[in-house]
């Protein structure tokens, strides 16, 4: 087993357990700042492959801690911020980050503005993918909401406009449109995945990722059928660029890859009598060029992965919820079987999951989950998993979360 920084986990969990699970309020004159937080500690164990950490030996490198505050200092205005730290395998490593920090002004129900570091909407879970409290499953469908990609997917530095409109007997429409810059760490999940695709050092080395502009929108149609909503989102990352250093005999020198990444997602959710049905489809495309640092183009590059899932959960009692989903991820929509590639099983990952959530108290939950997986398309670690095939394998997860 590989417990990482167990003192931090234990201290955070103990602090939360001792908090009596009540929000902290801080009086600032006539105004009140409210504080909320959560601490999650997980465990992963798998057969055959190391996934999301060194899971074959059993791994406790799977946790999140968040503390947020919000205050409404003026009419129609709210300021909110969250500090966050997490660890998933070799990503996160308890680095403390300012997850979001924004000021929001709501003109009316139809129009509002939020600026600063803001959560980026995308489907049902993108803006809440690290909130274990907000779902039945421990692991969301990983081809869509990869636990290692949160620096790419969750927050941007920029602005967002939001609002909703009644459609009369046709339900209601809500929207969020955003633009801003992503800040990707050289140690982050996207960096690790790009690094995994490079020739081994010293021939190639990962140098970093530039700040990239992203813009997009999320629309939700809350239909006249109570509990049924339909969503569409889309956008583009502009000039996403990463850099590689090249050593002799092919160097010394530097190369970069510069791509545009348009993406789109459709979502359907229906909640009724404790049942929740969800299905989503997501795809993105990278198109651009590999080039020398001086701008000389070496070769065009492109890829188009896609992923879908269907899931169902049921709240059986106030303390027990069961859920299940099935998801398929493909690295290349034009070659879903990986025909002709060095490792065909890297072309896909198909995952059937069964989850149980226990709400032990109002502020303490515990989850158990099993996965049967075929394919290795999301392992993203050739070093830990040098031999891969399409035989089925198992992943077991457990997680507990305290909140206030």
């Amino acid at each position: 087993m590989t417990p990482q920084n167990p003192r931090i986990s234990a201290v955070c969990l103990a602090l939360l357990a001792g908090s009596t699970a009540t929000a902290w309020d801080l009086k600032l004159g006539e105004k009140t700042a409210s504080f909320h937080g959560f601490a999650s500690q997980g465990f992963l164990a798998s057969t055959d492959y190391d996934y999301l950490g060194r899971s074959r030996d059993g791994s406790f490198e799977f946790n999140e801690f968040g503390l947020n505050t919000s205050i409404s200092p003026f009419n129609r205005t709210r300021i909110t911020a969250q500090a966050f730290t997490f660890d998933v395998g070799n990503v996160g490593n308890y680095e403390l980050i300012l997850d979001y920090a924004s000021i929001e002004y709501t003109v009316n129900d139809h129009v509002g503005f939020r600026g600063g570091r803001v959560r980026r909407p995308g489907g049902i879970y993108n803006h809440i993918q690290d909130v274990d409290l907000a779902r039945t499953a421990i692991l969301l469908p990983q081809g869509m909401y990869d636990a290692r990609w949160r620096d790419f997917s969750t927050s941007i530095d920029g602005g967002l406009v939001f609002g909703s409109f009644s459609l009369g007997s046709g339900g209601a429409l809500s929207y969020e449109a955003y633009a801003g810059y992503m800040n990707l760490s050289k140690e982050g999940g996207v960096a690790r995945i790009l690094e995994n695709g490079l020739p081994p050092a010293p021939i190639g080395g990962f140098s970093g990722i530039d700040k990239s502009l992203i813009a997009g929108a999320q629309l939700w149609w809350n239909t006249p059928v109570d509990g049924l909503r339909f969503g569409v989102s889309g956008g583009q990352v502009f000039d996403f660029t990463w850099h590689i250093s090249v050593a002799p005999p092919f160097g010394p020198g530097g190369m970069k890859t510069e791509v545009d990444i348009p993406f789109g997602q459709v979502s359907l959710e229906y909640q009724k009598d404790g049942w929740t049905f969800q299905t989503e489809y997501y795809s993105y495309k990278t198109t651009g060029f590999d080039m020398l640092e001086n701008g000389m183009i070496l070769a065009p590059t492109s890829s188009q992965p896609d992923v879908w899932y269907v899931g169902l959960s049921k709240r059986l009692t106030p303390w027990l919820e069961l859920g299940s989903y099935y998801t398929e991820y493909f690295t290349d929509v034009d070659n879903r079987g990986g025909v002709g590639t060095a490792v065909p099983s890297d072309a896909f990952q198909k995952d059937a999951a069964l989850s149980a959530r226990f709400d032990i108290t109002d502020w303490w939950i515990f989850k158990l989950e099993g996965h049967y997986i075929r394919g290795t398309g999301l392992l993203h670690s050739s070093t830990l998993n040098p031999v891969r095939n399409d035989d089925g394998w198992w992943l077991f997860a457990a997680k507990t979360t305290l909140s206030f």
Partner: protein, 137 residues
């Protein structure tokens, strides 16, 4: 011909069902300007779609314990667990201020009385002294 009779009848039945009186009493802080709400406006507040009163003061939702769960479910359209999950989603993504929890109607009433912009649904027949009762249309 039967179809023409069936559909207006069905809509009338649905309208009647949707207008069933709330099995609880809605109270707000005395400083809240509203004197009445439609069921739709109350649902928008409870789901976080409307976060400010007319005039711009922030809405602070207070929950009143298990005895008020049925009325809260009736007004919000969400089971208690779905309501809780919904607000956790909003709170931890920086999109909303989650409801303040009170153990029972008396404590919720006291919280509403002392918190600007507060609103709570209490079990039917609860004491409302110190707060303002809202009519739900």
């Amino acid at each position: 011909m039967k179809r023409h009779i069936l559909f207006p009848g069905l809509f009338a039945l649905l309208s009647v069902l949707s207008c069933v009186a709330l099995d609880g009493v809605v109270v707000v802080n005395e400083a809240v300007p509203a004197t009445q709400l439609t069921a739709g406006a109350l649902k928008d507040i409870l789901t976080g779609k409307t976060m400010y009163w007319d005039g711009g003061a922030a809405i602070n939702i207070v929950t009143a314990g298990e005895k008020a769960d049925a009325a809260l479910e009736q007004a919000s359209g969400m089971t208690p667990s779905a309501f809780k999950t919904h607000w956790q989603r909003l709170a931890f993504s920086g999109r909303g201020q989650p409801p303040k929890k009170a153990d029972d109607a008396a404590k919720a009433l006291a919280l509403v009385a002392s918190t600007k912009g507060a609103i709570a649904i209490l079990p039917a027949g609860s004491d409302t002294k110190g707060a303002k009762s809202l009519a739900i249309q």
